[in-house]
Amino acid sequence: MEVVEVAGLGKTYPGGTEALRSVSFSVHRGEVFCLLGRNGAGKTTLLRILATQLRPTGGQATVFGLDVAREPKGVRSRISVLPQEARPLMMLSAYDHVRLMCMIRGMSRADAARRSQELMEQFELWDHRDKLCADLSGGLRQRVLLCMALSSNPELLFLDEPTIGLDPVGRRQVWAAVRRLTKSGVTVLLTTHYMDEAERLSDRLAIIDKGQLAFLGTVEEAKAVTGAGMRVVIEASNGNGREVLSPKSNEEILAIVQRSIREGRRVTFQPPTLEDAFIRIVGGSIENETA
């Protein structure tokens, strides 16, 4: 049985905005599944439906075989969520946040204290435990929220842009924690705008565009969508202006090279990135920078 199964899922908000249109995919146990998409593409709507926070208006979604709309109680005991742009209470300490969340989710005082310490040590928060969240940096606050989300040992964890505001070290700590979780069988469904994050973390990914599933597969499969398997960077000789192209055929590459030589511009070849694939799939323009 798949952990998440989505079939023809649709969501039209009461105001008439159609956020999701017939989305179908599944998530396997123990994998990291990334949802990518532009702002307003429907990623958070999809995640909130799966996390039983929002009612779908069409299709069906099941988590652990339970329908999220009809049997949400069964789903809720096995999941946890870190919502997008969540914030801790400024006048409450880091430790109070994590310990109280453990107790709200049913742990005894002793278990909550033990679990809080374990999580806060894992995220290097233990030394900051008594500080008010107002006195913590943005990255440390985000880690407090992550500890809250992880407090209940969920089987399926939803992370909505979990590394926003984190420094590179903090991001890697989150990635390491996600990897540790998946090794112990936890399934992680996350949305992100960071392509490097999706590239490093995801076993599979889905790209949502205008409420529809635009791509489903692995990172390598996504990169293959770019065409000839490389990106061409053309720079003006004076360093002003940079153009990045993703040619689809050898003929196109040859034409680009010939044109660049004629114009006296420098050409370099790079393997395609997930960002190239993303832009290709969602139909935006390829990077075209002018310094």
Binding site: Q53, R76, S77, L89, L100, A149
Partner: protein, 249 residues
């Protein structure tokens, strides 16, 4: 059942802990409803201050329950704490009762202190039944304002209004109607209007049971007072049920 009680308790603690850990702020917030009492005592003496103190007890509970609107709004739209709890086994009833408990935790010290002052300073003999009836009237107003707070917090879409609406309503139930001052100070044509505000009924009943009205309430006034408070609470509960959602539509 035990699980639900634990949820209520810890949600209540989560919400009230920042205030409980900052007694200065707790005292300052309590002072808002007790400030008019101080001035009445200073300029009009104990006879005016005691009824006003009764009004302050009622309003401390009313103000704190209205403030639940801010908790509901900000936990939903700013901290996203509600979203974390929706995706957990916590029930919406536990969440609502937890936030309600928090308003009691933060207002209880001031209420208990003021009750003690009244019982000590009141020249009229007051029995436990009267004290219970005053607490019941205060709790009914607290409950009504709590429902108003939930309905406001759940339906407000604007952060500014989430902050200002409870304050405006607090002013309307607290400082305009005859809660601190006697009803008969109002012109005759304004008195029926004042009776539309539930805090007037709660204050009149409480002052009556403490023997602090110059003319005690008639049995029919007492029945009308209780009926109005109960009816208002039921009406607000109905609106809250219509407005508040645990799972977004």
């Amino acid at each position: 059942m035990r699980t639900r009680l634990r949820e209520i308790l810890y949600i209540g603690i989560f919400d009230s802990l920042p205030l409980v850990r900052d007694p200065m702020m707790l005292i300052l917030l309590s002072l808002i409803s007790f400030l008019p009492v101080f001035f009445l005592f200073l300029f009009a003496g104990i006879n005016a201050a005691l009824p006003a103190l009764v009004g302050a007890i009622i309003l401390t509970l009313g103000f704190s329950s209205l403030a639940v609107a801010q908790s509901v709004y900000f936990y939903k739209h700013w901290f996203r704490f509600q979203d974390m709890l929706v995706a957990s086994p916590v029930s919406p009833i536990s969440y609502a009762l937890g936030l309600s408990l928090s308003t009691l935790i933060s207002s209880a010290p001031a209420v208990v202190l003021a009750l003690a002052v009244i019982l000590v300073s009141n020249p009229n003999p007051v029995g436990p039944v009267e004290v219970m009836l005053v607490i019941a009237a205060s709790i009914l107003l607290w409950l009504s304002m709590l429902f108003v707070g939930y309905a406001l917090g759940a339906s407000t879409k604007n952060t500014r209004r989430a902050n200002s609406l409870p304050q405006v309503l607090g002013f309307m139930i607290g400082f305009l109607p005859p809660v601190y001052y006697p009803l008969d100070l109002l012109p005759g044509w304004l008195q029926p209007l004042a009776m539309l505000i539930p805090s007037t009924h709660a204050a009149q009943l409480a002052k009556h049971y403490f023997g602090l009205l110059t003319v005690p309430l008639s049995p029919s006034d007492i029945i009308i007072g209780w009926a109005y408070l109960i009816g208002f609470a039921i009406a607000m509960a109905f609106i809250t049920v219509r407005k508040a959602h645990w799972v977004d539509p």
